[in-house]
């Protein structure tokens, strides 16, 4: 019970700090009235959403996880560009070569933030869109289905991101 309250408080504080920093950077001013408004708004949101997620929550602060974050970001940008070029080709082809379907894949990630980032990453990468996240299972809409089998689809869609996110969040 006590540790639950503690972790909930820690989360609220982290959320407050993140929101407040965001506010100050966006405003680019340190005037007292701006700071006061940001402080009140961030406090209210932090209290209302104390069970929400923040970037730092569950992140492992280790040199290897920081390095994994950098690798993840590079891999992610590369995949985002590939996704856009592929879709551009499909959209511009007169025959519209699509072969859509919804497949089921499995993730090994346990943390909530890790799973959220995985679902987001899948949505932004070549031809895949997360439709539902249920326990260990993700349901993915695929513009050009390349594998119907669960194991094969997992390798194709999930494995690339998972190996970095695993080291970042576990």
């Amino acid at each position: 019970m006590n540790s639950e309250v503690l972790s909930s408080t820690r989360q609220s504080v982290e959320l407050f700090v993140t929101l407040f920093m965001f506010w100050v950077l966006l405003n680019g001013s340190l005037a007292p009235d701006t700071l006061a408004i940001g402080c009140v708004a961030a406090f209210v949101i932090a209290v209302l959403f104390r069970d929400g997620l923040s970037f730092l929550f569950e992140f492992r602060i280790l040199p290897s996880s920081l390095w994994a974050s950098v690798q993840y970001f590079v891999y992610f940008m590369k995949e985002l560009i590939v996704a856009n070029v592929r879709l551009a080709i499909i959209v511009l082809s007169p025959s519209l070569p699509i072969k859509p379907g919804i497949v089921k894949v499995r993730t090994r990630l346990k943390s909530r933030m890790g799973r959220l980032l995985l679902a987001n990453s899948i949505t932004l990468t070549p031809g895949t869109l997360t439709v539902e996240l249920e326990d260990d299972w993700l349901y993915i809409h695929w513009v050009t289905v390349e594998a119907v089998d669960m194991e094969d689809a997992t390798t194709l869609i999930v494995a690339g991101f998972e190996r970095y996110l695993e080291r970042m969040y576990g």
Binding site: L25, G28, V91, G101, I102, T123, L124, V145, V148
Partner: protein, 112 residues
């Protein structure tokens, strides 16, 4: 030096708007809701990021704010698409008859 950065910025802006335009074409051409969401999410994300990067080249003093807007976009854009896709599925949006597989609908339990 400044002129080169201006040119790079302008090129990034053009590239970004080109992707946004392709996204619009895709929305028009794709046959069902899920494929449209796919095109919409990916092109608006990269298109807007490139546009922001272009703007950062032309106005270096805006860089920090533009970076924050970009980060915000990277987190919220896919999330809203996922929520839309799930809502569309559960409310029984029209799916393409030619869908290769639908393992979500094959599951036991009523989802609609």
């Amino acid at each position: 030096m400044g002129a080169i950065i201006d040119i790079i910025g302008a090129l990034l802006l053009v590239l970004g708007t080109a992707f946004l335009f392709l996204g619009g074409v895709g929305l028009h051409r794709m046959p069902d809701v899920f494929n449209r969401i796919q095109v919409g999410t990916k092109t608006t994300t990269l298109g807007t990021l490139l546009t922001l990067a272009g703007a950062a080249c032309l106005h270096p003093d805006w860089s920090l704010k533009l970076l924050l807007i970009g980060l915000f976009l990277l987190f919220t854009n896919p999330l809203s698409s996922q929520v839309l896709a799930r809502a569309a599925y559960r409310s029984g949006a029209k799916k393409m008859a030619t869908m290769v597989t639908d393992q979500f609908g094959d599951e036991p339990g009523d989802r609609s």
